[in-house]
């Protein structure tokens, strides 16, 4: 077996990032010195790479980049801070703390992400420590939310009877896979340095080749987009009880334009495991990726490529070897949608839940103010959804009217059109350093234009998923949307059609590098045809394939033609 690119190789044969990790004294590097440097708002040099393992990204306000360059000022450096919030569950008192931190140290907004957590944007270097201390005081942390480790663990937030059990498992995995290094406590919380003898029992000093992502899905909802994840656990119910999980492996979205060796890939379902085996399965899968993942080429280092390079059979055998037993055969399940139902729902226990639509996850202004008021009185919890929305969960019957009136007072009870409800955009400009085109700030306009067309064709009540990413990395999981966009340059996008409505099929490139005019000119006639020619219940993504508008993509390797 070819082991020329993995952990078995001497450091000098590997990507420099590996040596950086190994030489970082378990993620300390020179971060503390960088924080103290008064001449720059940045953390100089390679330490920004290490900073990610602490949940912090160095960014700069790209709206100001040109202007400041002319002004002989360095870029307006600022930091994004991402919380670790397994399953997206957060208590109202924690919400209030986070709100306060965002207003004090961030840009006054909270950003709900596609992975069920909060991001602060616009935190200046000098405010990083107070922010992280504030997060600590809210009994939360940011460890391992970025960097080459297991990232935030998702868990479908809907109040099913065994949600509590799933949430426990999500927390358990998240804790287990968080970096063990005390660097976080030393740098941000001023705790005493350890005397040495530290180790990372799961990862070792070079952590993983690349990020790794785990989710728990609950059919019929695929809101977590289990097929886009490195490792998925699909809950199989037995009445109201949890029987166990189907295990899926090898999903991922990230790709690079015009580099055909990179592609999105959907996960394969490989077996079934009982709840008590979840931790062992996760450790074995992470271990395989740790040992065999590509540590030479970071663009080829995700688990999906390890799987495709070595084959699923090899993987199953290796997993079996590590577990000491084979997985059971997968059990039947079926998904219906990956969207959130917006508005009120109520459970058998009499409690109500309100799913609030948060356009592209950005909580600001009236939404920020309204949720603050609600958090002050709410007796249940908040749940962030993988669709960047927010569930105000377990509202007691006696509080429903009160919360309902607050929602109305702050205009949070307005229902957006169906297309908008099911649309997602990544952050992109002005904070994301990798963005090539607008996304969060632009998709709302494009949706308005598309909604006008849908209304004209009588399609307003037909759900269609639309997702936009500002670059090919695919943070909004655009390659499984029925209509997908990835940014190519200012105002320019690739347009993809034909994704599966519940995330079960990749879409297919329809137009490359086009602006709004061409996008509209292309989509309008296709939507018109769909309105007229669709079969009963036929989804838009299925239609464009049946109609021969795009070809069906059956596996990731076909994505680039």
């Amino acid at each position: 077996m070819d082991r020329s690119r993995d952990l078995s190789q001497p450091m000098e044969n590997l990507n420099p990032a590996e040596a950086l990790k190994a030489g970082s004294r378990f993620l300390r590097g020179g971060i503390a010195d960088g924080l103290a440097d008064p001449l720059t708002g940045a953390i100089p040099g390679e330490d920004t790479q290490l900073l990610k393992f602490h949940g912090i990204y160095q960014q700069d306000d790209r709206d100001l980049r040109d202007e400041r360059r002319h002004q002989k000022l360095e870029p307006a450096y600022e930091f994004m801070v991402r919380l670790r919030l397994p399953g997206g569950v957060c208590q109202p008192w924690q919400w209030l703390r986070l709100d306060e931190l965002a207003c004090h140290y961030g840009n006054g907004t909270l950003r709900l992400t596609t992975r069920q957590t909060f991001q602060f944007h616009g935190v200046l270097k000098g405010n990083l420590k107070p922010t992280l201390r504030g997060i600590h005081a809210a009994l939360l942390d940011t460890r391992g939310t970025c960097g080459d480790v297991n990232r935030g663990v998702l868990c479908s937030p809907y109040p099913v009877p065994f949600h509590g059990r799933l949430h426990e498992l999500a927390k358990e995995l998240s804790d287990r896979f968080s970096p063990r290094s005390r660097a976080y406590h030393e740098i941000w919380l001023d705790q005493e340095p350890v005397a040495g003898g530290e180790e990372e029992p799961i990862y070792g000093p070079t952590y993983l080749p690349r990020k790794f992502k785990i989710v728990f899905a609950v059919p019929p909802w695929n809101d977590v987009d289990v097929y886009a994840q490195d490792l998925g656990f699909i809950a199989i119910a037995d009445g109201d009880a949890l029987a166990g999980f189907n295990v899926s492996v090898g999903g991922g979205m990230g790709r690079t334009d015009r580099e055909p060796a990179t592609y999105p890939r959907l996960a394969d379902v490989i077996g079934f495991c009982p709840p008590q085996q979840v931790v062992a399965v996760a450790e074995a899968v992470v271990g395989i990726q740790r040992d065999y993942g590509d540590r030479v080429d970071r663009k080829h280092a995700r688990f999906k490529y390890t799987l495709d390079d070595r084959g699923i059979d090899w993987f199953k055998a290796e997993l079996e070897r590590r577990l000491g037993e084979s997985l059971e055969a997968p059990r039947p399940f079926s998904f219906e949608t990956n969207c959130d139902p917006i508005g009120w729902t109520s459970g058998a226990d009499g409690a109500s839940h309100y799913t609030l639509f948060v356009e592209n996850g950005r909580v600001r202004d009236a939404k920020m103010a309204g949720l603050r008021e609600i958090a002050r009185i709410h007796g249940g919890d908040f749940r962030l959804t993988p669709n960047q929305n927010l569930i105000i969960a377990y509202i007691a019957p006696e509080q429903r009217a009160w919360i309902s009136s607050l929602l109305a007072e702050y205009g949070l009870d307005r229902r957006p059109g169906l297309l908008r409800q099911n649309a997602m955009a990544c952050v992109a400009l002005p904070t994301c350093g990798l963005a090539m085109a607008e996304s969060e700030r632009y998709l709302p306009d494009l949706v308005s234009k598309l909604e006008a067309v849908l209304a004209e064709c009588g399609l307003s009540e037909t759900p269609i998923t639309v997702r936009m990413s500002g670059c090919p990395n695919g943070c909004s999981r655009p390659y499984i949307a029925e209509i997908g966009f990835s940014g190519r340059g200012p105002g320019k996008y690739n347009l993809y059609l034909g994704g599966g409505f519940h995330g079960q099929r990749l879409n297919s490139l329809y137009l490359e590098n086009v602006g709004e005019e061409q996008i509209m000119a292309a989509l309008v006639p296709i939507l018109r045809r769909y309105a007229v020619e669709r079969l009963a219940g036929e989804r838009f993504g299925d239609f464009v394939i049946r109609a021969g508008i795009v070809r069906e993509i059956r596996q990731g390797r076909e994505f680039n033609g």
Binding site: P38, L39, T40, G41, L64, R65, D66, E67, R68, R69, H70, Q71, K72, L73, E74, A76, L124, G126, R258, G489, P490, G491, K492, E512, N513
Partner: protein
């Protein structure tokens, strides 16, 4: 003098021989003597100017965002070295345009990003080369490789732009440009081989011409009365968005003026008044703009005189008295009476001529009488923020623009707002050099410097450092800078960062007064670093302070005295003596205003 063979034994070109002969004929003995000294110094400089290390024959400059171009540049570097070429390889933004004259061959590798834009790390270079300040490049041989993606409308645009521009600047293209698509490897590889072969063939013909030293003669031709009309080349705000301050970076062209200066000198600016204010005054006084007004150089219309020749904003006690009389305004007369200074000051505070004139209208005053009450236009001085060695024939200024409200009116500083708002790009500013012998770099390049500047006070230190860089001075340099806020008011931040990276600046300490609850100023930083500051002084460092005279300079002085007491174990008196001695030895110099 009679014509005779000049400089026997020396080969001059016939053209030079003729010119020299023609010149010599017209010289007085004194002049001839002076020129002989000048030429000797010229020759010394020319000799010194020949650098010891071999000049790179070939420079590879790359502009790259995602690394393709950088990779090709490394490849080209290897290929060139294999052909025995002395080669240097660097990112465009690490290159200083002034270094062009050290380069004989240039290979450009540039990708295109955005919507046909240069990659971010090449934008500065691109702007400079494309801009009108780009140097002429006669004698330079070049070739350009563009990287791009043909699905973009503006395919390889950056490569195309640079290719055309280099030619327009006089450089000679030795091979046609390659526009490479995303599958660039094979094409680029072959093209590089061809180009480098060409470059290699050129090598023996290489001769790097030394830049002639600038004339070190103080030119007396332009002064406050006979200013030179300098052209505005750049006028930008150095403060980032959200700042309460407006500090301008102004670049003026002195080309053709022959003006010479040294770091530490200032530029005198003769401003013009705001024409709207002139019109308002004329209207308030019921005066005709075209009323002829006698000046030393003849008659000019009143409006013009009020625009250029008189100060029409600043109030003086003389004006209050004279105008009060002319307008028969009793309250003014009372203020102008002896013993009323305090009241007068209080009245004048925040007021200007226009306030007085509108509050106390005068009937039947003519232009001549009114003008006679005003002060003649005073030049304003601005520290030169650039060194002639780094930017020949350019003057950079750092101007804090004065704007405020008082007595219900919006006000602006005469000269600072003139430079900021009214001159316009390509406009002409009357200037002259105001020399300051008491603010000078030490002649000895190994002497360490401690420079303390707050706000625009940092301007001359930019010139100091540029000069020391150009001279290759080895002395250590320590800069203290202060302003209001780190994010918006860190004037010239990236330049200091670069000087630090290059090792030119040894240390830098900053104080941003409004970034925390308690105010922190440069003197606090000095005190914090007192031990090292004193050590530097003991090692012979020169200390410079520039900027605000009313608070900063005295506070800094007190801080220095405290440091000498603390670190030198002296009493207060001895510490003062110590600083006095430094001052006498020209090791403690101040330029404060």
């Amino acid at each position: 003098m009679t014509a005779r063979p000049v400089l026997p034994g020396m080969t001059l070109t016939p053209e030079h021989a003729r010119q020299l002969e023609a010149l010599v004929k017209t010289l007085s003995p004194d002049e001839a003597l002076w020129i002989s000294g000048y030429l000797a110094s010229f020759a010394r400089h020319a000799v010194q100017a020949v650098p010891s290390p071999v000049r790179p024959a070939l420079l590879i400059l790359y502009g790259s965002e995602t690394g393709h171009g950088a990779g090709l540049a490394r490849l080209a570097e290897k290929k060139a070295a294999a052909r025995g070429l002395a080669v240097r390889n660097m990112a465009m933004d690490d290159f200083r345009l002034q270094e062009f004259h050290e380069v004989g061959q240039l290979l450009v590798i540039a990708s295109t990003h955005g919507d046909g834009d240069p990659p971010p790390a090449a934008v500065d270079f691109y702007d400079l080369v494309m801009g009108r300040k780009a140097p002429r490049l006669e004698g330079l041989k070049f070739a350009v490789l563009g990287l791009g993606d043909s699905t973009y409308e503006r395919f390889c645009q950056t490569g195309k732009d640079l290719d055309q521009r280099l030619e327009a600047l006089g450089a000679q293209r030795i091979q046609g440009r390659a526009d490479c698509d995303v599958d660039y490897e094979a094409k680029a590889d072959a093209w590089l081989d061809e180009v480098l072969e060409q470059f290699a063939r050129e090598v023996p013909a290489q001769a790097a011409a030394a830049a002639p030293p600038s004339l070190l003669v103080q030119d007396a031709q332009f002064d406050a009365h006979h200013p030179f009309a300098a052209t505005v080349m750049e006028n930008l705000i150095l403060n980032g968005r959200g700042s309460e301050k407006e500090t301008r970076h102004i670049e003026l062209s002195l080309a053709g003026s022959g003006l010479a200066w040294e770091p530490g000198d200032s530029l005198g600016v003769l401003p013009e008044n705001d024409p709207a204010l002139v019109a308002e005054l004329l209207a308030a006084l019921d005066l005709r703009p075209d009323e002829p007004l006698a000046q030393e150089d003849g008659e000019i219309p009143l409006a013009e005189a009020l625009t250029r020749r008189y100060e029409i904003t600043a109030l003086t006690p003389g004006f209050i008295g004279a105008y009060g009389e002319a307008a028969a305004a009793e309250p003014l007369g009372a203020l102008a009476a002896p013993g009323k200074q305090a009241d007068l000051r209080q009245y004048m505070a925040g007021r200007q001529v226009i306030d007085v004139v509108t509050e106390f209208p005068a009937r039947g005053l003519d232009g001549k009488a009114f003008a006679a009450m005003l002060r003649k236009m005073q030049p304003r001085l601005y520290s030169l923020a650039s060194s002639a060695a780094a930017y020949p024939e350019e003057a950079h200024l750092t101007v804090a623009v004065v704007r405020y409200h008082s007595h219900g009116r919006k006000r602006q500083g005469l000269a600072s707002a003139y430079l900021a708002d009214r001159v316009g790009s390509d406009g002409k500013v009357p200037v002259y050099v105001s020399s300051n012998k008491n603010f000078r770099l030490p002649a000895d390049d190994s002497v360490p410097l401690i420079m303390v500047g707050a706000g625009t006070g940092v301007a001359p230190f930019r010139a100091f450092l540029q000069e020391r860089q150009a001279r290759g001075a080895k002395g250590r340099n320590w800069l203290f800078f202060g302003d209001r806020r780190f994010r918006t008011d860190f004037l010239y931040q990236v330049e200091w960062q670069r000087f630090l990276k290059d090792g030119l600046l040894t240390r830098m300490d900053v104080a941003f007064s409004r970034d925390q609850a308690e105010k922190v100023y440069v003197q606090h930083r000095l005190l914090e670093k007192g031990k090292e500051v004193f050590a530097w002084l003991e090692e012979g460092a020169c200390l410079y302070v520039c900027g605000d005279a009313s608070h900063m300079a005295p506070d800094v002085h007190r801080a220095l005295a405290a440091i000498v007491v603390r670190e030198g174990g002296m009493d207060a008196e001895a510490a003062e003596e110590y600083l006095k001695r430094l001052h006498k030895e020209r090791r403690y110099q101040r330029d404060v205003y």
